[in-house]
């Protein structure tokens, strides 16, 4: 009864997540969204946090990120969802003031970077997960069929799939930024779900073997 309630809850969560995804999509991190960026370079070594503060002042109410370009710490890339020419000029002027530089606005172009599709982000994970899930399921069926074939197959498929879909549904519903760490946690959850299933099945099998042994001993005693 308890298990059924959990399954029903997870299915409702997944359906809600699907609806929210259809209506609003994912809240992607800046790395995966449509964004605009430009590069500045000078003789000085830039402090990323200082330049990021300047950029956030100018590009208010927007996601802003500053990254180092090349290996000499004298070039930075300023990234945001949208940057106008005036804002770019403003940022350059403030950086010039901060670092006593004379970075010119000419030849600094704002580049528009298209968003990375969810399909392209998730594609490298899908086939390996399907292959591993199939291999693991085969293993469960071969080793734990005595526990009930249907139950083993159902749990073997349902648990990892439901856990992963529920996880992504929570990400979508709560509008948690979908980024690089999102998929890392998904892989960890997948491994945990498979590991937990293996431990549960093995423990059940050992209990079954002990019960069968005890029954045999009782019969022998009788």
């Amino acid at each position: 009864m308890k298990n059924k309630a959990i399954y029903v809850f997870l299915i409702i969560l997944i359906i809600a997540g699907a609806i929210v995804y259809t209506v609003k999509g994912l809240n992607k991190e800046l790395n995966y969204s449509n964004r605009q960026q430009f590069e500045i370079s000078a003789a000085s070594t830039f402090d990323v946090s200082k330049v990021e503060t300047i950029a956030k002042e100018v590009l208010s109410n927007r996601n802003v990120k500053v990254q180092k370009v090349e290996r000499f710490n004298n070039a930075l890339e300023i990234i945001s969802t949208e940057i106008s020419e005036d804002e770019k000029q403003n940022i350059i002027n403030k950086v010039n003031e901060e670092y006593n530089e004379t970075i010119s606005n000419e030849n600094i172009n704002i580049i528009s970077v298209p968003e990375t599709r969810v399909k392209d982000i998730l594609m490298p994970y899908i086939l390996p997960i399907i292959i591993t899930l199939t291999a693991v399921l085969l293993y469960f069926v071969l080793v734990y069929s005595k526990l009930g074939l249907k139950s083993v197959i159902f749990k073997g498929i349902a648990m990892p799939v439901l856990i992963l879909l529920s996880y992504y549904s929570i990400i979508v519903i709560l509008r948690i930024p979908f980024g690089r760490i999102t998929n890392c946690i998904a892989v960890a959850l997948y491994l945990l779900s498979i590991g937990t299933l293996a431990v549960c099945f093995q423990n059940k099998k050992e209990e079954l073997i002990i019960n069968i042994k005890n029954e045999d001993e009782k019969e022998n005693d009788e």
Binding site: V69, A75, T132, R180, C184, Q202
Partner: protein, 501 residues
């Protein structure tokens, strides 16, 4: 009893040494500074840095758009004239609009196809762990590639059009075979006493096979005398001294020289009439030749080098041939792209963010350690030492097996530490009459699905998952060996019967 205590103390010392080496390092003086002799970690692009590349369609496309615009303005001017002309102009406008729609649709399809071809090339050229996105309005493609020794080679070959043509050497508009007839391209090599020759093998489809057969048996077949001349020429190429000697002898005898001159002229005339084909890729001629033998099997072998025994030269030629093969196999680019931006971007995951992840994982580890100590008292403390020793050894193995550390791998490592923790708990909970072999079997069965996942992930191309696979594989191997050699001895000692009976 004393021996057991001494043994335990020694084992704890060994663990301490491993922990110090792994977490602190071994420092030696080198040129007035202390250098850590322990190998560094290798990081993936998420943790190290990556090459950011922006590709844009070359401006020939905008020239085409200008032509369309200019044709529109011309048609607009016509509208100011008579009504009949207005009617005609309206039709022209409608046609232009239809043409624009068709062109924009074609452009869209070309953009999508270009992206697909670039992705194919990235996969064939061995790029792993890349991110690609495209602006479907102007076709611009954004790439993030791992920064390594192959990145520049990859970029220099990614945007080749990949147009293969076999055409007439005199009239290059006569193209007999092109990419549509290409079935497969592969790289071969042949070794003999003279050295190794690398070949590009072109295999053509039914139509291409038929065309090649017609060409090789028809007008492009080498004339027999031409063959003789070519053999002489090839001998000349190999033995120039012999040819020079011959020429000196001939020049002494003028009649013979005249005869030879006239025969040379005949030869030249015949050479001129000998039809040849050019095999070119992106207008670069790879070979101009006629066919000595008919080509029945629809395959053409193109040698890429002269026979050599120099290993570096062979490897370079193999690499070039393999690159050409990958470019041709991925298809012809419908549009020409150029690199608009190409910079190395350092990772934005700074030490602070990584430290947050480590602290979170460390906190979970810390809580589990406290639970161990509270539950199992003295044995719990020994178990904690064993766990820390395992973590130190695991990290050392990761460094020395050149496993790349990615974000996914860090989380996978945490799973391995959890698995090890559970194995240690099994030892702690072990009762006196329990056989160790049964516990070992039970643990192997529980861990086997993770081993299966590790094996599959290790062979995946995507670095994110292959690093996970390697982390899992080494983690389970080290855990099993470490726990059954060291931890078992520390926690259980010789009290339990290890036999299978």
């Amino acid at each position: 009893m004393k021996n057991n205590k001494l043994k335990l103390f020694t084992e704890i010392l060994v663990i301490l040494v491993i922990v110090l080496i792994s977490f602190v390092g071994i420092y030696t003086q080198k040129e007035n500074r202390m250098e850590n002799q322990v190998k560094e970690y290798q990081y993936s692009k998420d943790l190290d840095g990556y090459r950011e590349v922006l590709l844009e369609v070359t401006k020939e496309e905008s020239n085409n758009e200008d032509e369309l615009e200019s044709s529109d303005t011309a048609s607009e001017n016509k509208e100011n004239n008579s009504e009949n002309e207005d009617n005609e102009d309206n039709e022209d406008n409608a046609e232009d609009e239809n043409k624009e729609e068709t062109d924009s649709k074609n452009n869209y399809e070309n953009y999508i196809n270009s992206k697909k071809i670039i992705e194919k090339r990235l996969n064939l050229l061995g790029a792993q762990d890349y991110t690609i996105s495209q602006n479907t309005e102007n076709g611009a493609i954004y790439l993030q590639l791992p920064e390594d020794q192959e990145t520049d080679h990859l970029l220099s070959n990614l945007l080749q059009i990949g147009k293969l043509e076999i055409k007439d050497s005199e009239d290059t508009s006569k193209v007999y075979v092109n990419n549509d007839n290409l079935k497969n391209v592969s790289t071969l090599y042949n070794s003999d006493t003279n050295g190794t020759i690398v070949y590009l093998k072109f295999e053509f489809n039914k139509e291409g096979k038929k065309t090649l057969k017609e060409l090789s048996t028809g007008e492009y077949k080498t004339n027999p005398e031409e063959t003789k001349d070519e053999n002489e020429e090839s001998e000349e190429n190999e033995e120039t001294n012999t040819v020079e000697a011959k020429a000196e002898v001939d020049s002494d005898e003028s009649d013979e020289t005249e005869n030879e001159t006239s025969s040379d002229e005949n030869k030249e005339e015949k050479k001129d009439t000998q039809k040849k084909i050019i095999l070119s890729i992106d207008e670069n001629q790879l070979i101009t030749t006629s066919f000595d033998d008919p080509i029945e099997n629809g395959a053409l072998n193109l040698s890429m080098n002269k026979a050599t025994t120099d290993a570096d030269s062979i490897n370079n030629t193999l690499k070039s041939a393999s690159t050409i093969s990958s470019i041709l196999k991925s298809g012809t680019m419908p549009l020409e792209y150029e690199i608009k931006q190409n910079s190395y971007i350092q990772t934005d995951i700074n030490n602070d963010q990584l430290n947050k992840i480590y602290i979170t994982l460390g906190a979970i580890f810390g809580i589990s350690i406290i639970i161990l100590i509270f539950k199992f008292k003295t044995k719990g403390i020994i178990a904690v030492i064993a766990n820390i020793g395992f973590l130190a050894l695991y990290l050392l193995v990761i460094r020395y097996t050149n496993v790349v550390v990615s974000l996914e791998a860090i989380f996978t490592g945490a799973i391995i530490v959890a698995i090890n923790y559970l194995i240690v708990i099994d030892f702690l909970k072990m009762q006196e009459n329990t056989k160790l072999i049964n516990i070992f079997k039970s643990q192997i069965m529980k861990v086997m699905p993770i081993v299966l996942i590790a094996i599959v992930f290790s062979f995946v191309k995507a670095t994110k998952l292959s690093t996970c696979g390697m982390f899992l594989f080494w983690g389970i191997l080290v855990s099993m060996i470490y726990n059954y050699v060291l931890t078992r001895d520390m926690l259980i000692g010789k009290e339990v019967n290890i036999d299978e009976k």
